[in-house]
Symmetry: C2
Subunit: 227 residues, 2 copies
């Protein structure tokens, strides 16, 4: 393993709240049991209702957490980027995965087995408190999505979805907040439960009104005037 990669891995691991309580030694140990795996774009990582035996950490790329509707449409519940983790729920309560996770780009992912998860995390009181705090965050996020979906107009829905993503994956700069997920209109539509065409029209309107700007790399800048 390259030195720089090793350092990156260390940095990412240390930023996972679950692992915040582990000692340097423990992290070193941990790194040896973690498996790195590559998922090409559009590859499914796991399917809703699957029995799940791993927790995942995104190293690079991004993944979407989705519910698939009967009609083939999918609803995005969350998008995770480098440094985010997912799949912990099935490990915690032993039930099946509540949603499907798919790679949105070519994505490198770190995998931790249930055995190691139990070994390193479920024995330590402090780690359990961390897990609880993470679940609370997830719950608050789920309720926020909920709120967004019950907004009456398409415009509000798109606006709030953008704000939600800015909160989770936003980088502030002097002009506003940049959503670094490089989302397509279809992605935003799947997030806000609207049609792609409606999202296209609204995004253009936001641009025309000077509320947002699409940067060269397709990232979305929410200007200060946004909202």
């Amino acid at each position: 393993m390259k030195k720089s990669k090793k350092l990156l891995l260390d940095k990412i691991i240390k930023n996972i709240p679950f692992f915040a309580c582990l000692s340097g030694e423990q992290i070193e140990e941990l790194r040896h049991v973690l498996i790195e795996k590559h998922f090409p774009r559009n590859k499914i990582i796991f399917v809703e209702e699957d029995t799940q035996n791993y927790m995942y950490v995104v190293l690079s790329g991004k993944v979407k957490v989705v519910h698939a509707g009967a009609d083939g449409k999918e609803h995005i519940l969350a998008v995770h980027k480098a440094g985010d983790f997912f799949g912990e729920m099935a490990l915690l309560d032993g039930k099946t995965a509540p949603a499907t996770v798919t790679a949105m780009d070519d994505t490198d992912i770190l995998i931790m087995s249930k055995r190691d998860f139990d070994e390193y995390l479920l024995k330590d009181n402090k780690a359990l408190m961390e897990i609880i705090s993470v679940l609370c965050t997830r719950l608050r996020e789920a309720w926020m999505v909920n709120k967004v979906l019950s907004l009456p107009t398409a415009k509000e829905r798109v606006r709030e979805v953008l704000k939600l993503m800015a909160m989770h994956s936003g980088v502030k700069d002097n002009r506003g907040t940049v959503i670094t997920l490089r989302l397509t209109h279809q992605d935003i539509a799947d997030y806000s439960s609207l049609s792609r065409e409606t999202v296209t029209r609204l995004m253009n309107k936001f641009v025309k009104d000077g509320k947002i700007e699409i940067l060269d790399d397709k990232n979305i800048l929410l200007k200060h005037s946004f909202q």
Copy 2:
């Protein structure tokens, strides 16, 4: 306290997953620190964004967990009946309450202070595991609501909301499942983010199609053919 009431209290306490791991003595102890309080219909128990210092258990009646929209409309996230508990999140991560809770009927509620909560629950590893499992359940429920709200037609939304309530508050009998919450059409509308009129029309259609039946006490019977 009347004997019968004491027994009821005991039974309810023992059915709360948080307390499942406590010994008989501990429960006895616990009962002395719990305060019982009455909330009349429509009384707000706590407000979104409030700093919250208690956990609550419903003894009788029912409460709704809601997000209030800017336009005065409210969106129901969950309904809790006797034996259910709520308000635990703010105690767990110290952040403000993520939603408002209101009594839907005259409701008796048991209150546990943060101090007792910490004292009895946050020290025990087994209790922490219980809390984690409860949070996972909440998260799965929140995602189900999410799924319902992203369904494209009003009919599906109402159908799935009814199924959700049946799952949480349903009593099976030989004809199907009875939702024992005595909900108004407005409640269902607030749950599914539809207008009251649309819900009325759809409920009548379900009745006419023989899928559901409104019992004398206003409870809703989902017949076996429902779905």
